[in-house]
Symmetry: C2
Subunit: 223 residues, 2 copies
């Protein structure tokens, strides 16, 4: 038998090694938190998934909550930034005639595209975020990381809907975000309910319908 070549020990700088380990820890935590929530996951679970000793997590993170918040923060900036750009670009293009659907597409489709293109890691983050979002502690994290983009969206919606009250617009957003979170959660419920006709992870199907659906909803509110 030929002896397997020993795993080639790639020489990594400490900075590289640190970054790599951190990433692995965050990936593992993200996945587990997305399934079981903050309290349903132990540091042990995370360490086991990474293949390191539990105490290493304490070397990188103050405590469990700090790890949790780091998971939230890691990708929050990316999605927030991309959507902010998309909204800015849309606002510039549309000039003084923005439409509700246009604004929603910049906001929603940009995000859905990110999850579609981002593979498993981003899908896990989506489920993690959705789970966090309807939690009292989690909602505060949402505030911190997402208020700017959301308020940007709302400012465009206001211009697109000059005759709709601000209150109506906020409630409309409340509906939109609920639907988006329900999508990101991928609970599998729609799969079973529809007998397999729809799939929770078919974000293309959601993208095709969501902005249109919600735009019509907003327009109906002022009546």
């Amino acid at each position: 038998m030929v002896k397997a070549a020993p795993a080639k020990r790639v020489r990594r700088s400490k900075a590289e090694q640190r970054a790599e380990t951190l990433e692995q820890i965050l990936d593992a935590a993200e996945y587990l938190f997305s399934l079981q929530g903050l309290h349903g996951v132990t540091l042990r679970d995370v360490a086991k998934r990474v293949g390191v000793h539990t105490t290493l997590l304490h070397y990188y993170f103050q405590d469990k909550l700090a790890l949790f918040e780091a998971v939230f923060a890691r990708r929050a900036g990316v999605t927030s930034g991309l959507r902010m750009e998309a909204l800015d670009q849309y606002a510039a293009e549309a000039g003084d005639k923005p439409t509700v659907e246009g604004a929603l597409r910049a906001f929603l489709d940009t995000d859905l595209d990110l999850y579609i293109a981002g593979g498993e890691a981003w899908m896990n983050y989506g489920a993690f975020g959705a789970r966090v979002s309807n939690t009292p502690e989690g909602a505060v994290l949402m505030d911190v990381h997402f208020d700017p983009v959301v308020l940007k969206l709302i400012s465009i919606l206001k211009r697109a809907l000059p005759d709709t009250s601000e209150e109506d617009i906020f409630w409309g957003y409340h509906f939109v975000t609920g639907s988006l979170m329900n999508t990101l959660a991928r609970s599998g419920r729609i799969d079973r309910l529809s007998g397999g006709l729809c799939r929770s992870d078919d974000f293309m199907a959601v993208k095709k319908r969501m902005a249109k659906f919600m735009a019509a909803g907003f327009l109906a509110l002022k009546d």
Copy 2:
């Protein structure tokens, strides 16, 4: 100083006492689970809130998960039953001309009314259910308890929307339920986002807008 009259020891039958204690346990668990989820609550927390010894919970419930499921089941039948009735009644009234908004009002407004009228206990259940709903284990509880009502709603929507594909209708429902769960969760996010203009617990405001908003969304899908 006048001595306070000793708490009048009401003579309760065992059956009464059992029912009362059970109710107290379920109320406490419902409240705590709504805030912290299954894993964030210990039996100790529940017992302390009720004012009994931890082990009493094991007398009434097999284990923690059984308690959790009992909390879910207790009110699930009530809301499911009421909405089923409302949908049946609407279907009968509307004959062969049901509307999307009519069906959604029977489904959504009936539920929102229940939370509005049910006080704190029902509000806690709503938050509990919302939290459960975007969880993998929780979604299965949703299936078991709510599939019949939801499929009833969908059958009426199909008749109201003969030219809309079944897939579109299921995705529309997916959006609706996400918005409803986001409402029941009462995370406080919309309050802060809107600078106090909207309040998470203002279910009247939601009721006023939701069916109309969603109905317009459904109608836009077939275009």
